[in-house]
Symmetry: C2
Subunit: 453 residues, 2 copies
Amino acid sequence: MVEPANHRSAHRVVIVGGGFAGLYAAKELGRAPVQVTLIDKRNFHLFQPLLYQVATGTLSPADISSPLRGILSNNRNTQVLMEEVIDLDPERQQVILHQGTLEYDSLIIATGVSHHYFGNDHWQPTAPGLKTVEDALEMRRRIFIAFEAAEKEPDPEKRKAWLTFVIVGGGPTGVELAGAIAELARNTLKRDFRNINTTETQILLLEGLDRILPPYPPELSAKAAEALTDLGVTVRTKTMVTNIDNDVVTARHGDHEEHIAARTVLWAAGVKASVMGKVLEQRTGAQLDRVGRVIVEPDLSLAGYPNIFVIGDLAHYAHQHDKPLPGVAPVAVQQGQYVAKLLKSRLQGKSLAPFRYDDAGSLAVIGQNKAVVMLRSLKLWGPIAWFIWVFAHIYYLIEYDNKLIVMLQWGWNYFTRHRGARLITGEASLGKLEAKTEENYSGSSSNQSPVEV
Amino acid sequence: MVEPANHRSAHRVVIVGGGFAGLYAAKELGRAPVQVTLIDKRNFHLFQPLLYQVATGTLSPADISSPLRGILSNNRNTQVLMEEVIDLDPERQQVILHQGTLEYDSLIIATGVSHHYFGNDHWQPTAPGLKTVEDALEMRRRIFIAFEAAEKEPDPEKRKAWLTFVIVGGGPTGVELAGAIAELARNTLKRDFRNINTTETQILLLEGLDRILPPYPPELSAKAAEALTDLGVTVRTKTMVTNIDNDVVTARHGDHEEHIAARTVLWAAGVKASVMGKVLEQRTGAQLDRVGRVIVEPDLSLAGYPNIFVIGDLAHYAHQHDKPLPGVAPVAVQQGQYVAKLLKSRLQGKSLAPFRYDDAGSLAVIGQNKAVVMLRSLKLWGPIAWFIWVFAHIYYLIEYDNKLIVMLQWGWNYFTRHRGARLITGEASLGKLEAKTEENYSGSSSNQSPVEV
């Protein structure tokens, strides 16, 4: 079981990270005369744009994940390694793994970003973010536990806190989460409980800037806010979260400070670069921006290191506009493909023009028949935008796996408003519920069930 | 938010456990003039017969689970409570919950069984069983981690141990797991690795009795063993596991003792009754059998307690044959429906004949086109049996949810031999892999990747 002999002396490309950027770089190199190693901590690629649908019980993790080995199995020049890169030696051209080291001729770093609590990392246990499958399952657990706990809670104040969801951050993820939880409470769960009325659920979306979806045109931000309000979401802009503690969110709007009793707080506010940014800074002197992203050259390489590239969310690319490109999947895909093409050109002794992002548009979904879409200069909202969103996602999903299943799941949900994946899982899932429910309801000696209130 | 007034004085039925037995009792009582409370630790019903397909990466947990509230939402006389019963007071007719108590007029206990290690509970961490969604995800994690670790392991002996899977117990679960892992190794993963040949994977199925699938006719046991052998599974009968330690399984066959180096050991050997059996013994003097199941009267009630019933896997019902009914879904379904009908008859002042199990047959699947089926006196195997197995499962699944998805997933897998859900998830999934891989592979300064061997 050794590599084919003709690859022995081939140009060795090491790709770190199997997200959109790394995966599309690997795919593009699949037929090139190079030896590719793709390293990822996980054994699967995650279609992150739909992670909020796992968090809210519509899809299962496997519906939006594909095993990296499976995607790349036909690329015989490519090896997938489930490992983590912990350091880098650019002089020896080696990445340092947990177990052993790996040499490269060209190195592509695409390790992305994680949550950022703006110096309040102690908020994390109370207000989880949404980046991994485990994050999504934890959000799902909390959301559905909240309704179960409310059903059992006799005290009206406490019940209200269980039925209050605060989402911090009005970007696409926050908007999508708020919309999905609203649909859950208003439609899916409406007939499932006996002691609570889930349509009274309060969902607050807090955004620090003056409108939600700030990168979109103001017109679409307004349409999105309107659609959310229709669904029963309370949208608060110019509102900063100043504390999260003891199931109370403290928010400031101008001089006004508010305390919101909420048992479920979801974080969709900020990102910070993966630790690979720091490693690159230390080992190559790379410049980092405010959130730790690596400032790259026009060809996505590092200054002084033409064989090291940083792509995807971890890259700060500001050569096209006055501000860096956004951390979205299409940028990552195009950067991955660009670097792969650049390497192929170099091997042929050719050069390639600097990277340019071809911005086909942006999409954000609020709920069924509710989305906002910006296609080049075209602004759309409502059912048409929603259908564009659906088909754009299916197109990307279908490209590399049997994600026909997702389309059928959506089709089914569309007509039934059903959500099949609302499982509370994880060890001691009940124990955790109890730990959070401080007070027992009293023993009943009457004719009624003790959970009636 | 109170119960409708007409239920206030209704006969109160408390059902403990939302498996097949408890759920079908609740469904049957949906239109009856009673007040039903279904208590389960989990918020979903699990279609356990397909759990092995989650453990082996074909289906997602949500594909074989349905939220209990969703299934019962149209039964307005029914309340679902996510809780755990920890004790019972038969004199006051109360169940004691973690939080509070609940009164009943009739009580139905259907809390099932868990794994049994025959006095060797310390084997559990090494050899997990398959009863819950978490169990299945843990098995899945171990199975796919094993291939990842083998791919990185330079030592041939250690690599072989990673590629050796021992399944203890030749009942339906053991047979299904062995067949599914064999198909995984021989088909699904065949082209995914570069350093290992997954078709060399060793799968051993160990059974203490003289044939696998002991409750089936010998002819079908032989057909199943043949089909497994065709798939590359080594079937060892009359083989007792005497120790599991340090990644070595010690097995005895007559006087011969064997040590099998295997990193993955899966337990499918024995069950023991849920703790509710012990509670019933203490509080009502109920008789338990050898594995803790509760011996019930011909109408599934407890001797001396005509308003307490035990059904499903927890019940030991020996009034029909000389041996107790098997712990399979059809028995549980029929017992649940029987008790519900009995309660309805009683409320009308009528009686009902003792419970009788209508045994339509048994099915066990080995792999694609490979199954054994016993339909009353008809014995079938091969593709016909497999199609019967598929349609029987789809029929049950579809009855209460959108499990059309499962059919489509299977249809897709059938033609592509693809398995979409082979995700390694769980916190520190990589960390655990490393903890299990004792030795690092050495750093490489050669031209080769360090994981080539």
